[in-house]
Structure formats: C-alpha cells, structure tokens
C-alpha cells in the first residue's frame, strides 16, 4: 500500500457548509492555520446551499424585536426539550452574524434601506431575513466562500472523505481521510477538530438535502466516544414538492411562496383540512412543521390524498401579477417545467429536511472528548423536538463562529501538533483492504435503507414499524460487513457507498432505537401507539457506543423542565 499522505494543522474543519466555513474563518482570524475539507466540492454541497429563503434573527431593525423573544419562540417550538444554553447562543448571537454576513455582501433583501423580514410559522412576528429570489442558501455559501478564499491561513481541499477520527490517549488528534479523486489515504493531524458535516436527511428516500448529508459526522463522533442526543427527532418538511416532476428546483421551493402569498393546502375534495388538526390557516401560513406533517400524513391515510400520495398546494386564487411580483424569474422556471400556478395546483408531501438531534456539545461547541468540537446542524439540542423555520442557517453561522473561537483558544494552549501515526493505523489498514469479489449492489443497499427509514422510521412510527426497521438495518449491516467493498482506486463509487453504508447504518440504528425507546409523541416524533405527550418524557435521550458495537441510551433531564407549550 502507498504511504499515507500527511497533513498537519492547528484546526481541522470537516465539512464546508456555512458552519464549517464560518468556523474556519473565525479560527483563521484568531491566528490559526486551518485545514478545511469536504467530501465533495468546497462550499457547494451540504444543506446550506439548498436553503431557499428564511434565516431567523431578532434584528430589531425594521420592526421592534429582541433576541429573548426569538429565544422564547424557539423553546416553545422545541416542546420542552431544547438545550437552553444552545438556544440562547443561537438567538442572542444571531444578529451579530447576520450583520457580519451583511457587511460581507450577502445581499439580504431590503425595504427602505433596512433589512426586511418575512413572517414564518412559529415566530411571534416577522423575523426571517432572506435573499431574493429563493437565493438565500446559494448567497450565504458564495459569500462565505469569498471570505474563506481570501484568508491566507485557510487551506481548503475537496474530495476528502473522512473515514475515522484519530483518537489517542482519550483525545481526538485529527482524522484519517480517503482522497476520493485519487484513492490515496491521508492522515490529518490537528490540535482541534471541528465536525461540521450537517445532518442525516439522506437516510430517507425523499429528502431535501444533498447526497452528502448521510450523518457522517454523527458516526465519526460516536466511534470516537462522543455522545449523541435527541436522535429520534427528524424534522420533516411538510410541503416538499411531490408532483408533477420538476427538475432544476429544490423540493422545498414552495415554502417561500407560502411565506409571501399564503397559499392553500387542499385535500382531494378540494377542501382545506388543517383546521381539523387544530390550525385553521385562513389564507395565512401559520402551521408549524410538525403539525403540518402530521396533518398531511393523516389526510392521506384517510383516503383524501392526492394521486401521488400527498395533498394539493394551490395558489390559483392569487392573481398572476402578484405571483410574478413575489417570484419574478421563478415563475419562468416553473413554466419551463410545464407548471402554471394560475391554472393548476401542485402535489406536496412531507420530506426529510433537518435533524434536531446530533452531537452533544456545550455552548462553546465542545464535546466531552478533548480536541473534538462540532458545529451547525451536526450539533444536537438547540431546537429540541421541533425546529422553527429559519433557525438552521442562523445556527450554522453562530455555532460555526463559536466553534472556530473555542478551537482557537485551545490551539493557543497546545505547543505542537500531536502526531499519532500509530493511532491512525487501524483505519489505514481498513482502507488498504481489497473488497470481496462479488459484493452486493451498494447503490441498491443504500436505496433499501432509505426506503426502510421512510416507511418505518418516518414522522409516524410505532413499535412494530421500528422493530421491523431494526431487523432490516441488521440485515443490511450484515451484508455490509467489516471489509470495505471495491478496491479503493480513484473515484471508486462502490467503496464510497460502502463507507457511507458503514456510517448511515450506524446512524439509522441510533434514530430507530431512540424512537423505539421514547414511548410518547412529541414534536417531530409521533408514535401511533403512544399518541400523547407525557411529562415523564420531558427528558433528552443520550446515546453512546459501548464496546464499539452496542448503543447505550440514557435519559437526561431536559434543561428546561417546564411543560412544553402544547
């Protein structure tokens, strides 16, 4: 086998979405050398670039607001499970990051010179800034890329897939990566390692994020001994595009239309139905994501769904000039797909969108393992059982900045980069293996896992569905085995899939086991067999890996014990 290539750096940042890039910028500003890597291109994949519109922040600019009000709304949406310190950090530091992004030229939409805010469900007032039209994510990504590119002390490299973190004497000292484009193994030694790999939405067949959101970071941290929290809470975005087939558009694209124009959710009788689930919309967009998802799935279950298994979203009552004013060029992109909103409705259905759970950290973004931090969606706890619209990008920016700051503090206290080649050997040996001669089809196995998760570990679960899923996860884990498929040459897709299966199956098991253990319904976790929210479940579930294999789930009292809002 070829000798691994070696990198030494002060701070290693894994993942180049908003959280990773902000972390890199902040650590570099504090004088650190930073190695920023991504499994695909720098600043292109992940969830950030996919964000369509809202970024929640109490700017107190266009209209009166205060971070404490945003904080209260975040706690209410979280149904009693938010980590108070993280939710406070997100809301209190949000304005500074949003203004810094503004100074960097992101181009937040303005009215009369002031940054303007849209109203989004769950907020007590208009609080969501955005970049028109449907450009928030791409604008945030490209702005941060511009700043990263100018920072001389940030080295940025794509096509690097982190296989494992390097752990020696109880501390994380970097990572072993597989360079996808060449097939070469790489060891990266770092004084501090920040996991900013985003969430796990790729576990589900229909999802709104990039291919690289398979929960890699959760699996890396778990194997390194860190804890995961709230893994059962997967947010489904209620109105993901379902039909007719649209290309070149993000499936969550209808959300901005609803912010601006309301729109109507209709069943197959042409009737509005959300009032039957406790939220009469009356032409406004006020239903939160957990309730919206539940209402749509129950309507479909009752036989009142659309032909493809969702419900209808209609803007036919909105005059064309108003549609065009709100959405300009997007109307033409829809026309290119054969869709005229003045004449037809579209079909929408819940789609995996975000993960409230993740790596357990404190408000400095540190895990309990020295040398290891997390940032962005990879961190669990800030949003409890359900995330408010707009909190994800804010969280990415704020947590990224904080992680960069904390890492820089550590770096100053550490003399030289810890190089621990012996601690990297086990993973290097794994990468050096040649796979079996006739492995099963990895792309099909990944699809099978996504199907299982969608059917049995979706927004509505039960003991029987979750047990069925765990059996299937076991079967797939057995088929995946311990020996990587493929030969590890340049862009070996089979090996890439195998490494993804290794991580995704671990993370899928975390979600299913935590969901099975939580015998109540709350926020994004709805048990058909335990429909009510129970006070004794005002606890977070924390997962640790025991003996490198078994998942150990503990209950920890939620940081706010007060009863959740609903």
């Amino acid at each position: 086998m070829t000798e691994p290539m070696r990198v030494e750096t002060d701070v290693l940042v894994i993942g180049s979405g908003a959280a990773g890039m902000y972390a890199a910028i902040e650590a570099a500003r504090a004088g650190c050398n930073v190695f920023l890597l991504d499994r695909s291109l720098i600043g292109r994949g992940g969830a950030t670039v996919m964000a369509q519109m809202t970024v929640a922040v109490a700017l107190d600019d266009e209209a009166p607001d205060h971070w404490s009000l945003h904080y209260q709304d975040t706690l209410t949406a979280g149904r009693g499970l938010c980590n108070e310190a993280l939710a406070r950090l997100l809301t209190e530091e949000g304005p500074a990051c949003i203004r810094e992004m503004d100074a960097w030229g992101v181009g937040w939409a303005r009215k009369d010179g002031k940054i303007t805010s849209a109203f989004a469900p769950g907020h007590d007032r208009p609080r969501c800034v955005y970049v028109d039209f449907l450009r928030t994510g791409p604008a945030v990504s490209s702005t941060l890329r511009g700043v990263v590119n100018k920072a001389k002390s940030i080295t940025r490299k794509g096509d690097l897939y982190v296989v494992d973190l390097i752990k020696a004497e109880g501390e994380v000292a970097g990572a072993v990566a597989w360079h996808i484009a060449s097939g070469a193994p790489v060891t990266i030694f770092a004084k501090a390692t920040i996991v900013a790999t985003g969430g796990l939405t790729r576990l589900y067949r229909r999802n709104s994020a990039s291919l690289n959101m398979g929960g890699d970071g959760y699996a890396l941290c778990l194997r390194a001994g860190a804890r995961l929290i709230d893994m059962e809470f997967v947010q489904f975005f209620p109105i993901g595009h379902l039909a007719p087939r649209l290309i070149g558009m993000d499936p969550i694209m209808w959300d901005p239309f609803r912010y601006k124009l309301g729109g109507k959710l209709l069943n197959n009788r042409g009737e509005e139905f959300t009032q039957d689930y406790g939220v009469a919309e009356d032409g406004k967009y006020i239903i939160t994501r957990d309730v919206g998802t539940y209402a749509i799935l129950k309507e479909v279950e009752a036989g009142r769904g659309s032909p493809h298994g969702g419900v209808f979203l209609s803007f036919q009552h909105v005059p064309e000039p108003k549609l065009r004013e709100a959405f300009g060029p997007v109307i033409d992109r829809l026309a290119a797909n054969g869709i005229d909103l003045t004449k037809q409705s579209v079909e929408v259905a819940p789609i995996a969108h975000y993960h409230m759970g993740g790596v357990q950290t404190d408000a400095r973004m540190t895990t309990e393992i020295p040398g290891l931090l997390a940032a962005g969606e990879a961190v669990g706890g800030a949003n409890g059982a359900n995330r408010l619209s707009g909190n994800a990008i804010t969280e990415a920016l704020v947590f990224g900045r904080q992680a960069g700051r904390t890492a820089a503090g550590w770096v100053k206290a550490i003399g030289k980069v810890p190089t621990r080649p012996e601690a990297a050997q086990e993973t290097l040996d794994l990468l050096a293996m040649d796979g079996p001669g006739h492995p099963p089809n990895t792309a099909e196995m990944l699809q099978s896992l996504q199907q299982t998760m969608a059917e049995d570990v979706g927004p509505l679960r039960s003991q029987s569905s979750l047990k069925r899923a765990l059996v299937r996860i076991d079967e797939l884990s057995h088929a995946t085995g311990e020996r990587p498929f493929g030969n590890g040459q340049a862009f070996d897709m089979v090996r890439l899939d195998w490494l993804d299966l290794r991580n995704m199956l671990t993370v899928a098991r975390c979600v299913a086991q935590a969901a099975l253990a939580r015998t109540e319904s709350r926020g994004a976790h709805q048990r058909e067999d335990f429909p009510g929210m129970l006070p004794e479940w005002n606890v977070n579930q924390v997962i640790r890996l025991e003996d490198r294999r078994r998942l150990d789930i503990e209950r920890a009292p939620a940081s706010i014990a007060k009863a959740a809002a609903q």
Binding site: M5, R6, V7, L37, S40, L41, I42, R44, G45, V49, M50, G137, P138, T155, R156, K157, G158, D159, L160, H179, A181, S182, V186, S210, L211, N212, P244, R245, L246, I247, G248, M249, D250, P251, N337, N441, T442, A443, E444, Q447, G486, Q489, A490, F491, D492, M493, V494, D497
Partner: protein, 114 residues
C-alpha cells in the same frame, strides 16, 4: 409498451483507453439524465462513476458532463426516449467515467499538500 431511454456512456480511467457502454433505462416524462444515471447505478452497475451532490436543485453544480457533445448539468438535462451519448467533460482532467476534476486547482488535494 413502456418507453426507454438508451444511455451510451463513456467508461474508463484513461482518456486514451476508454470504452462505451449502453444501458436501457425506463423512461418517464419529466425525468433528468441524472435520474437515468442513478437508475443504472441502483439496478445495473454501481461502479459507474458520477459526481453529484444536490440531486435535483441545480445548486451544487457538480454534475457537469457532455451530452451529445454539449456541456450540460445532468440534473437539468431532460431524459429523452432516444439514444443519448454521455461523456466526461473534454476540457477537464479525467478522473473516472463521467467524473472530471472540476474544482479550482487550489482546492484539489495533491501530494504537494503534505
């Protein structure tokens, strides 16, 4: 009869020593070329190398390739019920099959980064 798209795909890791493979893909109106390539990986051959990230949004810009000699994004090029020829970008360094080096040189990892 169900319609099919015929995808002729260039395969190889060396520009001078590649070959063409042809796959029949079930065709549904509205699908993208990337949908067809993903179908091939799931049902026929998972070794087919393609680069993509965002799947459908045309946000990541990673799925650039040549369709009948023209540069396209596979996620926005429509699948059609005819023969479609897919090749890696001819003006970029080949990695494998339909994958080329599209990152700016400074963002590519190489031995000199040690």
């Amino acid at each position: 009869m169900t319609e099919t798209a015929t995808l002729s795909i260039w395969r190889g890791a060396d520009k001078a020593a590649g070959h063409w493979e042809t796959h029949q893909v079930p065709f549904e109106r509205g699908q993208s070329v990337l949908d067809g390539l993903r179908w091939i990986r799931m049902h026929k051959d998972p070794t087919l190398a393609i680069r993509f990230s965002c799947i459908n949004a045309n946000a990541c810009k990673e799925c650039m390739m040549e369709l009948d000699g023209e540069t396209v994004y596979a996620c926005t090029a429509r699948l059609e019920p005819r023969e479609m020829r897919l090749e890696p970008l001819s003006n970029k360094k080949l990695v494998r099959d339909l994958v080329t080096e599209i990152a700016p040189p400074v963002e590519r990892f190489a031995a000199k980064d040690k």
